[in-house]
Symmetry: C2
C-alpha cells in the first residue's frame, strides 16, 4: 500500500505562487482566510487525512459495504473515522456560517477534498456528495427548508446524495419516470426507483437527505417536465427533528469494479414525502448548476488518483533494483540499478507527475472561479467571467483529467510490473477506484458533447474566444525567461490551432450535426493537453522566483514543463488531426454491418 503523504509543498506553490490566494480571498471578502490560516488548515487536513482516512483505504476495498436486511453497513473503521471527521469540524469548512459552517472558501475545501480522495476515494465520496446536496439546497431551497435541513447537513451529522439515474435513463434524463404527486400542504409524495446512488445508504449518519429529480404528475414529457426535490430518508419535522420513516429504502447495492467502501445503491421511493426545490419543471436547469460544481470535484479525483499513484510508483522506482542502466551502471555497489535510471520508467513517472501537478493547477484555478461565482462581494462582471470560464473548462477538466488520471494509475501499475497487479501494493486499487470518475457525473463522451455542442458551438464560439484571447494576451505580455520561450511559442501556436480547429468543425456541423459527435472526444482531449501545457508553463515561470531559495524545486518544475511540452503536448496534434476529420469513417458503416 503506498503511504499517502499530503503534498503540502506542491499545494502551497499552486495556491500562493500561482494563484496568489491571499489577494484572491481578500478581494472576495474572506477576511479570515489569510495565507497563514490556509497553510494551517491544510497542514491539519494533511495530518488528519494521512492518519485517519488513508489507513482505511485497503480495508474499505477488501470488505466493501454490506447490504443486510435492508440496511447498508460500511467497512470496519469507516464509522469511527467519519465520527472523528465530524468531531474535527471538517464537514463545515466551506459551509454557510448561518447554518453552523465556517464560511471559508470553496477552493480551500477542494484542496482538502483532493487529499481525501487521493487517500481514500470511497470515503471521500461521503462528504463529497453531501456538499453537492447542500449546494443544491442553498441554491434552490427556500429559507424554511434550509433551516430545517442545513444545520445537520453542515455539521455532517446527516449526509446527502444526488438521485438522478434510473435503470432506463442515465445520460438521457428526459426519460425519467419517478413521479411526484402534489399534496395539500405544499409537499409532494414521490414514487419511483433510482439506481447508482453513491453514498445512497450507510451507517455513518442518522439521516440521509436525497436530492431527487422527478416528474410532477401531469408535467410535460421529456426534459421540460423535470422537477427537483429534497426527500429525506427519515421524515424531518419543522424544527429539524427526526420524525420516523419516510418511504425511502435501499433495495440493493451494486457489486462493482472499485470504490467498494462506498455503497452504490438502488434507492426506492414509495410515496415518500418530499419538498420542491426551485420552480416546477425547471429541475434540469437546477441540476446543471449542481453538476458543474460536482464535475470540478470529479476532475479533482483524477488529479488525486494521479498523485497517489505517482507517490507509490516514485517510491518503488527508487527502491526496486532491476537491471543496469543502458548507459552504464549507476549504482555499481548494488546488485542492480534502481529502476528509476531507465528512461521508460522515467517517462511513466514524469507523465504521472505532469498529470498530478498540472491537473492540480487546473482544478485549483477553477475552484477560485467557483469562489467568485459564490461570492456576495464580487462584481457582476467578475461573476460572469468566472462563470463563463467554468462553463468552458469544466467538461475539459472533468473528462481529460479523469482519463489522464486513469492513465496515470495504469502507468503506476506498469512501473511495479507484476507487483502492480497484486492487491497488497495498492496500485491496482487506485486504477479500479478511479475508473468510476470517467463514468459518473457524465461519461467522457457526454463531457465532450457538453464542451463542443453546448459550450463552444452553443455560445457561437464566444466562450472559447474569450478564454483563448485572454490566454494569448497573457502569454504575449508576460516576462518569460529565455529558456522557456520556445514553450511560449508552442503554446501560442496551439491556442491559434484551437480556434481554427473549432471553426472547421463549426462549418462542417452546419451541414451535418453528426460532425459534432464525431469530433467531440478528440476535440476535448486536444483542449485538455493545451490547457495542461498552459498550466505547466505558468508553473515553470512562477517557479523562477524560487530559483535561489529552493533550486531543486525550481528545476523540477521547469524540467517537468519541458517534458510536458516535449512528450505530452505532441499528442494534442494527433487529437487535432482526428478532430479535423469528417464523420465519414464513423458513420459510413450500416448498423447491421458492425458484425
Amino acid at each position: 500500500m503506498p503511504a499517502y503523504h499530503a503534498p503540502l509543498k506542491e499545494m502551497h506553490f499552486v495556491l500562493h505562487d500561482l494563484l496568489n490566494l491571499g489577494n484572491h480571498y481578500a478581494s472576495l471578502g474572506f477576511n479570515e482566510a489569510t495565507p497563514e490560516l490556509v497553510d494551517a488548515v491544510l497542514e491539519e487536513a494533511g495530518k488528519f487525512t494521512e492518519s485517519v482516512i488513508a489507513p482505511l483505504n485497503r480495508v474499505g476495498d477488501e470488505q466493501g459495504c454490506r447490504f443486510e436486511q435492508g440496511t447498508v453497513s460500511t467497512p470496519e473503521g469507516f464509522k469511527s473515522a467519519y465520527q472523528q471527521y465530524i468531531d474535527a469540524g471538517w464537514p463545515t469548512l466551506a459551509q454557510p456560517e448561518q447554518y453552523g459552517g465556517q464560511g471559508l472558501p470553496y477552493s480551500l475545501n477542494l484542496v482538502c477534498a483532493e487529499m481525501q480522495s487521493a487517500a481514500n476515494h470511497a470515503f471521500a465520496m461521503y462528504p463529497g456528495l453531501s456538499h453537492g446536496a447542500q449546494a443544491t439546497l442553498m441554491a434552490h431551497g427556500d429559507d424554511a427548508l434550509q433551516q430545517r435541513f442545513m444545520p445537520k447537513l453542515v455539521s455532517g451529522e446527516w449526509t446527502g446524495t444526488m438521485c438522478l439515474t434510473e435503470a432506463h435513463c442515465g445520460s438521457d434524463l428526459g426519460l425519467l419516470r419517478t413521479k411526484a404527486v402534489p399534496q395539500e400542504d405544499g409537499s409532494y409524495r414521490l414514487s419511483g426507483s433510482k439506481i447508482f446512488i453513491s453514498s445512497g445508504d450507510h451507517d455513518l449518519a442518522e439521516n440521509i437527505v436525497h436530492i431527487v429529480i422527478a416528474r410532477i404528475e401531469g408535467a410535460p414529457a421529456g426534459t421540460k417536465g423535470i422537477s427537483l426535490f429534497l426527500v429525506p430518508k427519515l421524515a424531518v419535522g419543522d424544527a429539524g427533528e427526526i420524525a420516523g420513516p419516510n418511504g425511502v429504502s435501499c433495495g440493493a447495492i451494486e457489486h462493482k469494479m472499485g470504490i467498494n467502501g462506498n455503497a452504490t445503491c438502488v434507492i426506492n421511493f414509495d410515496d415518500a414525502t418530499g419538498y420542491l426545490l426551485g420552480e416546477p419543471n425547471r429541475g434540469l436547469n437546477a441540476m446543471f448548476t449542481f453538476m458543474n460544481a460536482a464535475r470540478v470535484g470529479v476532475a479533482t479525483e483524477g488529479v488525486a488518483a494521479a498523485e497517489a499513484s505517482f507517490q507509490g510508483a516514485l517510491a518503488y522506482a527508487r527502491e526496486r533494483l532491476q537491471m543496469r542502466s543502458l548507459s552504464g551502471p549507476k549504482c555499481p555497489e548494488k546488485a542492480a540499478d534502481p529502476i528509476i535510471v531507465h528512461p521508460d520508467v522515467r517517462r511513466m513517472l514524469l507523465t504521472q507527475k505532469a498529470i498530478a501537478e498540472g491537473g492540480r493547477a487546473m482544478v485549483y484555478e477553477m475552484a477560485t472561479w467557483v469562489d467568485v461565482t459564490k461570492s456576495a462581494s464580487a462584481s457582476a462582471e467578475a461573476k460572469q467571467r468566472a462563470s463563463d470560464r467554468l462553463s468552458l473548462l469544466t467538461p475539459i477538466a472533468k473528462a481529460f483529467l479523469t482519463e489522464m488520471g486513469f492513465e496515470a494509475t495504469s502507468l503506476g501499475v506498469q512501473v511495479f510490473g507484476g507487483h502492480g497487479y497484486v492487491s497488497e501494493w495498492g496500485m491496482e486499487q487506485l486504477m479500479r477506484d478511479t475508473k468510476i470518475s470517467c463514468l459518473y457525473e457524465g461519461t467522457t463522451g457526454i463531457q465532450a458533447l457538453d464542451l463542443l455542442a453546448r459550450k463552444v458551438l452553443g455560445s457561437r464560439g464566444a466562450l472559447l474566444e474569450s478564454y483563448c484571447t485572454e490566454l494569448g494576451q497573457w502569454w504575449m505580455t508576460q516576462p518569460i525567461p529565455d529558456p522557456l520561450k520556445p514553450m511560449q511559442q508552442q503554446l501560442l501556436a496551439h491556442l491559434q490551432q484551437w480556434g481554427e480547429l473549432t471553426q472547421g468543425i463549426a462549418i462542417r456541423a452546419q451541414q451535418n450535426p453528426d460532425e459534432i459527435g464525431a469530433a467531440s472526444v478528440d476535440y476535448l482531449m486536444f483542449a485538455g493537453y493545451v490547457v495542461l501545457a498552459h498550466q505547466w508553463l505558468k508553473m515553470a515561470v512562477a517557479a523562477e522566483s524560487r530559483r535561489e531559495t529552493d533550486p531543486d524545486f525550481c528545476q523540477s518544475k521547469q524540467d517537468t514543463a519541458y517534458f510536458v511540452f516535449a512528450r505530452l503536448l505532441p499528442k494534442a496534434a494527433s487529437h487535432a488531426a482526428l478532430a479535423a476529420q469528417d464523420s465519414g469513417s464513423l458513420m459510413r458503416m450500416a448498423e447491421h454491418q458492425f458484425r
Copy 2:
C-alpha cells in the same frame, strides 16, 4: 455478462481467405489438417467454449481460488469443466503424436486458445501454461525425461507451469537465487522460492510439472549461470508413476486485480528433486525459446479480450436507448435512439472491432510462422525466415495487442456508462483480467526494449529491413481495387517512415545508449499501428472476393479498414514524433528532483 460467441466466420476468413491454411498445412505435411477438418475442429471448440468454459467466467472471478491448509482449490465448476476438457481431448490437439497427441498444427490450437481466453481468461491459463511447459520439455529434455512426463502432460491429466520470477528478480533474471545441487544419479536438488507462478497449484490435476530456472551450485553470477530444470510437484518414477511428495509446496496465493480463477502462487522448493533440461548454464537461452512462443499466446489474450468486450458492447449499443441522434431521430417510434447511432459510440465500437479482428489476423499469421519453425518438412531457409519474422513481430504483438486489448476493454466499459462499472455486466472483469497481459511474460517496457535493442538494433536492422522490404514489395505488386489505393499509399509511406525512424534512433544510440530506452515504447507503438494497418488492408483486399456472396461482410471489412487508416493509423504519427525525440526530456531531471 456478455454471452461469448466464438466468431467462427471471422476466424474462417482469416484462416482461409487470408492465410490459405489448406495450402499452408499441406506444404508442412499436416495431411490430416484439411480445411474441412479445421472447420469442424473450430466449430466443436466453439461449442465447447461457449457451453462449458464461458459460463464459469464470472463465478471464477467472484469466488477466486482458495488457499487452505497448503493447497489451492479452484472455483466451483472448474474441476468438472477441466475434466470435460480432458475427456474431449482438447489438451492433446497440437501435441506430439508419440506421446498421445493429435499432432495437429500449433496455429490451430492457437485459435482454440483465443476462444478459451475470450470466454474465460483465468481458465484458459491452465492449458496455456501447460502447453508452454510441454514445449520446453520437448525442446530441451532428453527422450527418457519426455517419456516419463509427456504422456500425462499431453493428456492434460497433469499440468505444467513456468517458474521464473523471484521476489527480488522479475525482468532481471540474472539476480535469481534458487539453487540446484547436483546429485550422484544425475538429478538435482532444488531449493528456493518462486513467486507469481500462474497455475502454480490447483485441484484440477493430480500432478503439476514445474519448469524452473535456478543456479547450479558454483555457477557463474548473473545470466550466464542460469540453468533450466523440470521439477514435479509429486515425485515421478521411471515409468511415469507418481511416487510421493517432492519438497514442492505452495506457500501463498496472491490477491490480485483479476484472473481470480487462476491461482498466482508462491512456490517453495525445499530440496526438491529436479532434472536438468538442456545444458548447464544455458537456461536463459532455453527460456527465450519458450518465452517467444508464450508471448504469441499472450498477444492472443489481448485479441481475445478485445473480441469479448466488443461482443458485449455491440449488443448493448444496439439495445440501449438513450438520447436522439444529433442528425435527427433514427427510431422515432421508440422513446430514444439506440446509442449505436452516436458517432462517438461508433468510434469506440470500431476501435474494439479493429483491434479484435486486425489483432487476430496478426497473431494467426504469426502462428503459421510458428508452424513452420516446428515443422520437420520445412526447408532451413523457410524456417529461418519464419524465425526471423517471429523474432521481430513477437514483442510488437505482445505489447501492442495487450495494450490495445486493454484499451478495447476500457472502451467497452465506457460504452456501457455506469453499468460498465458494475460487475453484473461482466465488462469491468474483462478490463481487470486483461491488464495482466500487459505485465506478465515481460511488461510493455520490456517488450519495447526487446524489440528495439535486441531485435532491431541487435540485428543491425536486418530483421526489420527484410520484413519491410517484403511488405513493400507485396503491396507494390498486389492488385488493389481503386477505392483502397489511398490506403496502399499510406501504408507504403509508413513502411518507409519506419526505416527512417529506426536509422535516426540508431545514430543517436551510438552516442548514448539511453536513447534506445527513451524511444522504445513509442517506437513499438508506432510499429504496432503500422502492422495493424497492414493486416487491415490485407483483409480489405481479401474481402473483395466475398463482395458477391456476402456483400455485408465485404463492406464491413472495407469500412473498418477505412476507419483504421482514418482514425487509428494517424496515432502512429504521434508515436513516431515522440520516438524521434532525444532522451533529454526524460533524463535531464536529477533523481532527487522528481519530488
